[in-house]
Symmetry: C2
């Protein structure tokens, strides 16, 4: 089969053998933002056409199934397990080419919509089911950091609920566009300034709120109390710490483990920040989406 | 005397009689951002030169005293009363032309700088002392909404502490630049959508955090649960509610009153949001800075 992860800014796919092992992989800078409406089939055929022979089914996950993608695959409501996803595939060519729907967390029943808005993910769901299999977990809290971080509850191998935080996007704004950016250097050191980041997380966990704490990044520079090149790491700690403060629970030995998955540099920041909030974490191996797509195909 | 409020984006000044009453007022779109370094004296003389005769002192408040202004007037540390400001004027022409220093809230003694960063204001201090006089208050909590809102504690007519929240700037980003802006109309209705705003404030007060709640503005649009033109008012409620959630205290009859001051449309939003958090407010009359500058001159 062919398994494809087609996201907002990147596209990658693999040919898998009958046991789900990767035979071959291809990547391209053809995220959905780079594809004009109506151009998806051409991109698909140019990249994967030679693999896509009769008898070789293809499943695609990610933003390709959004309103701005190839075709909109309606969200599958939570709670949802792999079986539910398998039954809700959105077929472009019946039996041959399908998109995996994203998940939605419906409104709280009985409440007005804006008192408890829905939540959505698209693409993360296959990563999550891949991680559950790789780590042999039935129950877990999964944290997927990113532009829009996801905190996901899994019970009995089903995604029961999740929440999105706009942390990555907010950090980019604070770092590069807000008033704070005027007292920060143009570029950051690649290596994490652990001490500065830790101070940011600890400040956030005290609970004064990001709208206030972020301003401290400016005043520390104004009074030359912290070198400017350390402040973006402090700010990163403020933002990630704010997200964690709102999600942190009192950990009990009976709680399911917290699993971190995503880009290694970001996962490392979250691992450190969560440990400062006394939340131990497991780390999922990278690139588990292909495996989950293979399992979805087995369920057809 | 001449009293001038010279801010980031606007400049206004008045000629006051010996009792502090306004004889004449002039305004110009010559905030400090529009003045090139070295150009402040020329702007001052062109606008106020004919008023500024020998024996007519002039006091200026606002960002004109910042590093990007005419000359930097070092911050006066809190706690500070009108007497402290009067003794800390930054004279450009001794006895004739001075800038009022801004206030700083120093770091918490004993803590590392980034565990408790300082805070700053410049220009708000004269508004605050003007409000205390107009309302005959010795003790108060003052709230000055804006790009960078200020929450100010006053005891015994002295500003004892204050905190800044980047709420206005954050709202502008969420509304006009973030992912959310793609599902919001280009312009907003001028009149406040009270119901939508109230829902936003109430959602914020539940405490899930703005990084999460803001994303709800997108999903409500995605599922057509709320008309797009109502969502910017909901978002405004989310941001203002977040600020208030972090500042709200359990109100007791013995607490000093909460005084709101600033642009009328914004004050109205904060009044409503604070009432939803069960915090009653007084409203200060507008434009109290001249009066405080006159009192500062009397103290020379």
């Amino acid at each position: 089969m062919i398994a494809i992860d087609w996201g907002t800014s990147s596209l990658r796919g693999a040919r898998l053998d009958t046991k789900g092992r990767v035979l071959d992989e291809r990547q391209a800078e053809r995220g959905i933002l780079s594809v004009a409406p109506g151009g998806f089939q051409t991109v698909f055929e140019s990249l994967f056409g030679d693999w896509w022979t009769p008898g070789t089914p293809c499943l695609m996950a990610g933003m390709v199934g959004s309103r701005q993608g190839w075709q909109e695959a309606p969200y599958c409501p939570c709670p949802a397990g792999l079986n539910d996803l398998a039954g809700a595939l959105h077929w472009l060519v019946p039996g041959r080419l399908a998109m995996v729907p994203g998940l939605c967390q419906p409104n709280t029943p009985g409440a007005e919509a804006w008192a408890a808005p829905p939540d959505v993910m698209r693409g993360e769901e296959v990563q999550i089911f891949g991680a559950l299999e790789a780590l042999h977990l039935q129950d877990a809290t999964l944290v997927l950091p990113g532009t829009h971080s996801k905190w996901v509850q899994v019970r009995g191998e089903r995604i029961t609920s999740f929440r999105t935080h706009m942390s990555g996007e907010c950090y980019q704004w604070l770092r590069h566009q807000s008033l704070l950016s005027r007292t920060l250097p143009d570029t950051d050191a690649t290596a994490l300034d652990t001490e500065a980041f830790t101070h940011g997380v600890q400040r956030a966990l005290q609970g004064r709120g990001l709208l206030h704490n972020a301003f401290g990044t400016r005043t520390l520079a104004l009074f030359d109390q912290v070198p400017a090149q350390r402040l973006s790491h402090y700010l990163s700690g403020l933002v990630i710490g704010e997200e964690i403060r709102h999600e942190a629970r009192s950990t009990a030995p009976t709680d399911p483990p917290v699993v971190l998955m995503g880009a290694p540099a970001l996962v490392e920041r979250y691992r450190l920040a969560l440990s400062l909030a006394h939340i131990p974490t497991l780390q999922a191996p990278a690139q588990l989406g292909y495996r989950a797509l293979w399992r979805l195909q087995q369920l057809q």
